[in-house]
């Protein structure tokens, strides 16, 4: 595993369709679960700077609750305007009972 890895949460702390901000990172990062899959992503809508963890996660996609911008959680690419810039996404590893995020070195 990449040495720059942080623990995001416990495996049982989120149910499917739930998200939360990750504590203690420099840039805002969100962790969420959808369709049995874990996703870590830049927790800020590039349209107008708002935490995406307040929105909706579904089918590897996240939607901002304010103006409906959507992003692919596998690539970070914009799926729906008004956002036009993609978000960063991060690899996730489940080890034992914990969920880890791999940050760029």
């Amino acid at each position: 595993m990449n040495p720059n890895t942080v623990r995001a949460c416990a495996v049982d702390s989120l149910k499917d369709g739930e998200m939360q901000p990750v504590a203690g990172t420099v840039d805002p990062i969100g962790i969420g679960k959808a369709g049995g899959e874990w996703f870590a992503f830049e927790n800020n809508c590039t349209h107008d700077d708002f935490p995406l963890t307040e929105g909706v996660i579904e089918d590897a996609e996240i939607e901002c609750p304010l103006h409906g911008a959507r992003y692919c959680l596998r690539t970070g690419k914009v799926r729906a305007v008004p956002a036009t810039c993609s978000i960063r996404v991060y690899p996730v590893h489940v080890v034992g009972g914990d969920v880890f995020i791999e940050l760029p070195t």
Partner: protein
């Protein structure tokens, strides 16, 4: 006459408090019908009556979960009623503070944020402004979002599942404002710990009449029922019933609030649920009859057996028929029009089959196409049309029924009359006139003057 293009404030200037009080004369038992059709009076009503009264917003079962919201009106003002994370209820004007656009466009839903569809200002479920597009670039981060939240309804309180709001922070508590009305409301809303819930959605329709025709009738008017509704009653009766089976009962009581404008009336003779069986359905009547022992343990025998076929108004516009269980609000739309919003109330702990028959029975009788509803709407609409005439609107209406004949009955609290009376209507219009004349809440708490002096 107000000049063309006059503002509401200008239009109201023709009416002094003294002139308004003279519209309702309880000494002679007469009512000036301009209360129903005068545009200037209507503008005063929106401020003095709808701006200062407790108004029904929603039933608690309509917004059970955090983030649930229901959009309704307080007078002509659209409001959002929203369930918070801590379980409390907040109401705020359904209007963006930026350019006045309606925030929530749906009838109801669940959301964390209300985003204006015009420029995108976003408010949280308590109405706080949380995001403004281009805040850094366009507003240079100088906009103080805390100052620009949606306008809160300062008072929101609940009684037995009914959520009310009031724009006037100084209004006495809902509990105090209801007073003796609670005794009569409980017969519909407090039959068990489970309380009531709304069956189905909200029926909404528009009819061209003044809101006071509808509210007054639910407050005070049993008198119309044996005549206006006879054809509908005959239609719902089982085939082959003899004419004496539809003999209207003569025993009964009417109650009016001392000062608050509320009223109710009902028959005290126990028909064992026969009329309810015909109107809402036999399974509902059977359920109600079977529940009598447990309800009597809770509310006492009087309200279990001696309150039949009741009508009731909580001033100004919250109206219901205990037993039949329609609940409605008349949202005013100018002096000549209302939006009727009708809900079906059922016991939350009734079997589903009973709830369904209850809801369907209410819909069959009291809804846009309801058989009994047609009778009422037709009368209110036609009176309103007649009042377009200049002669017709100068003829005082007769409001004398039961004048000076208030009575007592140890079983029931408050000011009582015979069931066929207009005492509650006189109480309703007196409250209206006192609010319209600008009396303070402290003054309004004093009982109406005696009718016979």
């Amino acid at each position: 006459m107000p000049r063309e293009g006059a503002t509401p404030d200008d239009a109201a200037r023709g009416w002094t408090a003294e002139a308004i009080r003279k519209l309702v004369d309880v000494e002679t038992g007469t009512l000036d019908p301009r209360v129903y059709c005068d545009g200037a009076l209507y503008q005063i009503e929106l401020e003095q009556v709808f701006g200062r009264s407790w108004l029904f917003l929603a039933h608690r079962s309509q917004i059970p979960k955090a983030g649930d919201y229901f959009t309704t009106y307080m007078g002509e003002d659209p409001v959002i009623v929203s369930r918070q994370k801590d379980g409390s209820v907040v109401a705020f004007l359904n209007q963006c503070r930026h350019r006045g656009m309606r925030l929530a466009r749906l009838d109801h839903g669940n959301t964390k944020f209300f985003t204006c569809s015009y420029h995108g200002w976003s408010y949280d479920s308590a109405g706080r402004l949380v995001n403004v597009p281009m805040e850094k670039n366009a507003y240079c981060s100088k906009l103080n979002k805390a100052d620009w939240g949606a306008v809160r309804v300062p008072r929101v309180e609940e009684y037995k599942g009914l959520i009310f709001g009031c724009w006037d922070a100084e209004v006495p508590s809902l509990d105090e404002s209801l007073g003796d009305a609670k005794f009569y409301m409980d017969a519909m809303f407090d039959r068990s710990d489970a309380g009531t819930e709304i069956w189905g959605g909200v029926h909404k329709w528009v009819i061209p009449c003044n809101w006071k025709f509808a509210s007054e009738q639910f407050c005070s008017d049993m008198y119309h029922a044996p005549l206006s509704h006879m054809s509908a009653i005959l239609a719902v009766m089982p085939e082959g019933v003899p004419p004496e089976a539809v003999q209207w009962p003569m025993e009964g009581v009417q109650w009016r609030s001392d000062s608050a404008g509320h009223g109710t009336g009902f028959h005290t003779a126990d028909d064992q649920g026969q009329l309810l069986a015909a109107i809402v359905g036999p399974a509902v009547a059977e359920y109600l009859m079977a529940s009598r022992p447990r309800v009597a343990d809770r509310l006492g025998a009087t309200r279990t057996h001696a309150v039949n076929g009741a009508h009731m108004t909580i001033f100004p516009t919250c109206c219901f028929l205990p037993g039949i269980n329609t609940l409605r609000v008349w949202h005013p739309r100018g002096p000549n029009e209302i939006e009727v919003w009708a809900l079906a109330v059922v016991d939350a702990d009734a079997p589903q089959a009973v709830k369904d028959q209850w809801g369907q029975g209410i819909t069959r009788t009291f809804s846009p196409a309801g058989m009994f509803e047609q009778d009422d709407g037709e009368n209110w609409i036609e009176v309103q049309r007649v009042l377009r005439g200049t002669k017709s609107r100068r003829q005082p209406f007769n409001l004398q029924m039961g004048l000076g004949n208030e009575q007592s009955d140890a079983r029931f609290p408050g000011k009582l009359s015979y069931v066929f009376s207009e005492a509650a209507a006189r109480g309703f219009y007196t409250r209206w006139a006192r609010m319209m004349a600008g009396e303070s809440h402290a003054d309004l708490a004093a009982p109406h003057l005696p009718e016979v002096r």
